[in-house]
Symmetry: C2
Subunit: 331 residues, 2 copies
């Protein structure tokens, strides 16, 4: 068998995060729902930014964060997503390439700026996200790279793509290319409100096309409109060959038609910022799967990566995940 | 006596920092001198950025960092400096105002972008800076706010201003306004290479116009072209009524014509990034002086602020300096 060129190729939103700390009162005063993501327009982005405290800017985006995580494990990752020709677009492209991720999507020619996500981090480390999609919504099917997808072990998609009609079409097209090429299709549900917005389309897509699903507890409960996780996992078993459900500090559960494997969370001295926790969990799991590792090892790699990213501000690893995994004898 | 409106009003470069970690080999391969600042042009900024690893963007600049520090102690600070009408300019202005610092200088109408400083942080926490001044060099005397300067307790200037002819003229003009209004004039020497470039002008200015001088050990040795710190401090005593000389982990010395006061460094569990250490030292000292506190207390406040900023990535405090000072019974 020929070794795939990339372990993971991702398609999703190219975003720069603007991260500020705030107290719970600010979240409440702004009428936000802590721990979730909402879409905002340019005007609301300007208004909210003016209200926010001093911030840092750092490249983000669910799928790009996961791709950087795969690279940090020593894997090969590629990303397809749309930036604009502006300073934030340059920052995004630089940080992705500097992390070793293949990124060749040209910036838009349009006037929409590179996507930004205003992230508010409360003292408990929880993040509340406000995303202005801008140029990220403009990725079209024409700009997919079929060779990149076809030569990868795993394609990785995000539910957020359903929030832009053009991005959604590209999402479906990428999955079709992957299936025809024998590339494994994986998906993250992204956010409980995103599931709420696109439940039926997600269920159809999962049943028909997804080989590996990532979701957190809230998302999978929203998907099946239940508050019983056991019932939701039972539904998952019939809908999907493999799923990983994360439950924050309680760890995660790997769900297969024949098995439920519980993976403990990796201990963290202090949770500073949960931004990127799910993204990095997916990174570890995808890297493990692409390298043919045992499901339990995949879960451990996922937990290690998630623990690293929540122990500091920012959604991408600051430590070599390969070194952390080696220290535990996992790779 | 009427209480001054601002404790500190600063004049200097408005800069956004782009901070990446690197190893010592990278500093060597790039031919850089660790721990110093060099000026670069737009072309070199593009070249070096492409070579750097993944980065974070965060507002910086010596004087703005100090102003934010003063505000974090509960003081009132104002800043005058030039940005461009671009995303980095917006970031800079937002972060300064969100920290409570008065900032009313309009952005340039020109084509030079907002200044950026490419900062490389080695595993020992030392920072090596590469500054593209862009719009920051365009502050002109016309844009100074005499009322702001005149109503302040302290004016705070940076040696870096001497690197731009227009900024240098504004620097002299600000000092003249301050002296005429009875505002105390303080100066930081900025960098040993900056002292090298402007030694005679600095000495003239210090002797004629500076009430309070900030310098680190390398800068004061460069100023007097000696490798004997005792000799340099003896010279300082005749040139300046009050100086604070920082010596990294060895603490600092407050130099007056009649006294030498040693201030211990505040213990730090782990030095992550020394960017802003001198700036925050000056913040604590200036806040203390503006509030009429004893010199030893000023030194302690300075040390606390420096210790806070080197314990994390980025040049501005992440913790309330007022709270840290209160915890030690200093304010």
């Amino acid at each position: 068998m020929v070794q795939p060129v990339h372990d993971v190729v991702g398609l999703g939103s190219a975003i720069v995060d603007i991260i500020a700390r705030c107290d719970d009162g600010f979240i409440e005063a702004q009428g936000l729902t802590k721990g979730t993501m909402r879409l905002i327009d340019a005007e609301e982005a300007t208004r909210l930014y003016a209200e926010m405290g001093p911030a840092i800017e750092v490249s983000g985006g669910t799928v790009p964060n996961s791709c950087v995580g795969v690279a940090s494990f020593g894997g090969k990752a590629g990303f397809m997503g749309k930036t604009a020709k502006d300073p934030f677009g340059e920052i995004f492209a630089h940080d992705l390439r500097a992390a070793g991720v293949t990124f060749n999507t040209p910036p838009t020619q349009g006037s929409a700026p590179t996507a930004r996500c205003l992230i508010l981090v409360t003292p408990d480390g929880e993040r509340t996200m406000n995303t202005f999609l801008g140029a990220a919504a403009e990725l079209s099917s024409n700009e997919l790279d079929p060779a990149l997808i076809g030569d990868a072990s795993h394609l990785y998609l995000e539910g957020y793509s359903f929030d832009g009609p053009q991005a959604k079409a590209a999402f479906y097209e990428a999955a079709t290319i992957a299936r025809e090429a024998g590339t494994i299709v994986s998906l993250t549900l992204s956010d409980p409100f995103c599931v709420e917005r696109h439940r039926e389309a997600f269920l159809d897509f999962i049943r028909g096309s997804v080989d590996l699903l990532f979701a957190n507890q809230s998302e999978v409960l929203s998907l099946y409109q239940t508050d019983d996780l056991t019932a939701a996992c039972a539904r998952l078993r019939t809908d999907c060959a493999l799923a990983a459900v994360t439950c924050s500090e309680k760890g995660s559960v790997i769900v297969t038609p024949g098995d439920l494997i519980e993976i403990p969370a990796e201990p963290v001295a202090r949770v500073l910022d949960t931004t990127g926790a799910g993204d990095l969990y997916a990174a570890g799991f995808l890297f493990g799967r692409a390298r043919g590792l045992d499901l339990r090892v995949c879960g451990r790699l996922a937990s290690i990566a998630a623990a690293e990213v929540i122990s500091h501000i920012g959604p991408r690893p600051e430590t070599s995940l390969a070194a952390l995994a080696r220290a535990q004898g996992l790779i």
